[in-house]
Symmetry: C2
């Protein structure tokens, strides 16, 4: 599929895996799974489907250097640098306009940089299937069939199956739904026609630009101006002069919710995780026979079960005696020890530190 | 009481509070209780009863410099340096011989350097009472009335009360007993006539030297030779030439068990602890209203109860979420997290590290 491109949205920050992920060290750049970072895992997964020159990375200047170090195969000119964060709609618009200039027939697979996918073969199969659907003018979203009533994700409700002899079941999207409360999440899980919104999309540059033109005309105008100057000596000046005025908006709210031809491929068995909390990281790591996982360092476990030990220090010896269901995170100036089922309270800790102006730990 | 002296036995090493106490940093020199080390606590407790020039410290060369730094009030000449560890009998013999040379009427209170005592007033009262008894030619041991069936201590069985109008009940010693098994410990606790052997003794230099002469004539001869050269240019040569040949022996086995006039003062309410394990350290620290104790660093506790956080790093933030009855010890290259009631397993860890030649952690 010679006109297909992967576009990795990699500019995000955030402290959901605090104290390891910090303002300055976002989780996609951390070796959470062992030796490889989530960003490197994303690149490796995509390189089986796309040659490196057709993988683009959109990120911010502060992260670009580290990414180039972590993924040396990606050509430098494939990094699109956002002068400042303006939401995923702006990222998609920029990438689509620039790509369309490079290749008028460009098809794009929008990818997150900081998620985990276990089943690579299925992933490749689904992306290929999604490109088939996108060829017919659809904006295709990759949905994840829910395995529990998650309240942390947006949901996509599917409608009728699409006509067309596709290699994987694909449905018209009935509606996008925001993060639900517990009860609503239960209902959506039982309904059988809802998927989690994975943030992965497949479409042609033409189709998404048409929708952006219709729904976000200012963004369309700006990214077209930027694309016209792309690769010329004026590139940076034009980028700067239009970018800062953009309204910050997500692609979901800005475009997808009111787009015309939207489809969903509900994937099950992908082994997908957004690695958005310590317990979800724990879920995707391979434990030993006592259910323990240790990344880096040395873990000496006595009467210890179902415990994750994360340390960034290879020389550190971590001894645990009589522990069950625990997450231990040793991150330089901060040590966190947390019962697995309470790991969502990391947010409360981050809030507390903000409130008490302990910026150095954030 | 102008002829009374305190002799602190401070040469011990050991790894019972591993990973904080190490071969090179014994527990008496560590600020386990906050700002003050156990050694400094011992000095402070004794200075209310003895002027600094009558407090002696027997230790090894590796520790002497740090002790002088921690206790600057003690004159340098009051440090007796063991060329090598030869057990508490040798320490007591050396101190008694040297002291008797300095003051023929010397009375000695033998003290440990690494124990904790909460009730200072009672301690002073008991030591004074013990000196009264020792005046009459007794070797007096300070017993601790047991509060649970400990298997980690030696026991002293008391016999008849001594005649004499002493200010505190004092008994003839019927027998010394080694560390018991669980069942024997239960019986001794119920008997009501057993005390823990605290390792604190009071006697006159003359009396203990007579017993050493009778039971350990070689030690007697050696320390008398050393004492004769003490304070002369020959001091070190003589010390070295006799010391290395000494048999390593404890004062309990070497002298006390077969001594003639032995008495015990069974102390209750002293708030004594040998601080021999993390749970026993926890017992002597003052917890907050959730039962938590943090030494140094900053402890941010969410849903955390009865948890001890020990860190040597003042800049470190320790976050605990959903923890109960836990000991967290953050000691540079080692992090240990342990259920309180399993803290005796630290020994197994130390054994494991020895066996696997991970000396750097010991």
């Amino acid at each position: 599929m010679e006109h297909t491109y992967a576009v990795i949205m990699a500019g995000g920050g955030g402290t959901r895996l605090w104290p390891v992920s910090r303002k300055q060290t976002p989780k996609q750049l951390l070796p959470l799974l062992g030796r490889e970072t989530l960003f490197q895992g994303t690149i490796a997964r995509l390189e089986k489907l796309f040659p490196p020159e057709r993988i683009l990375v959109v990120t911010v200047a502060e992260q670009a250097r580290e990414m180039q170090k972590q993924a040396p195969t990606i050509p430098v000119e494939n990094y699109l640098i956002e002068p400042a964060p303006r939401g995923t709609a702006s990222v998609v618009g920029l990438a689509a306009a620039v790509l369309r200039k490079r290749d008028p027939q460009a098809m794009m697979a929008i990818q997150t940089s900081d998620h985990y996918i276990r089943n690579h073969d299925l992933f490749h199969y689904l992306i290929s299937a999604a490109f088939e659907v996108a060829q017919n003018g659809f904006l295709v979203t990759l949905g994840i069939s829910p395995t529990y009533p998650a309240i942390g994700y947006g949901y996509i409700q599917q409608g009728e199956p699409l006509d067309g002899n596709y290699r994987y079941p694909v449905y018209a999207v009935k509606s996008f739904k925001e993060k639900p409360d517990e009860r609503t999440a239960q209902q959506m899980l039982r309904s059988g026609d809802h998927s989690w919104n994975s943030g992965m999309f497949v479409w042609s540059a033409d189709t998404i630009m048409s929708e952006i033109e219709r729904q976000m005309p200012e963004l369309c105008k700006a990214v077209n101006k930027i694309a016209a100057a792309w690769g010329t000596p004026e590139q940076n000046n034009v980028l700067q002069s239009y970018w800062y005025d953009l309204r910050s908006q997500t692609i979901d709210y800005g475009v997808m919710e009111r787009a015309e031809k939207v489809a969903v491929l509900p994937a099950s068995g992908l082994g997908w995780s957004d690695v958005g909390s310590w317990d979800s990281l724990f879920d995707v790591l391979l434990p030993d026979m006592n259910g323990n996982v240790a990344t880096n360092g040395q873990h000496l476990a006595l009467d210890t079960n179902n415990t994750l030990v994360y340390t960034s220090d290879d020389e550190r010896l971590v001894v645990t005696i009589g522990l069950d269901d625990m997450v231990i995170v040793d991150a330089g100036d901060v040590l966190m020890i947390c019962k697995v089922d309470q790991s969502q309270k990391v947010r409360d800790v981050v809030e507390h530190l903000k409130k008490h102006r302990q910026e150095k730990y954030l």
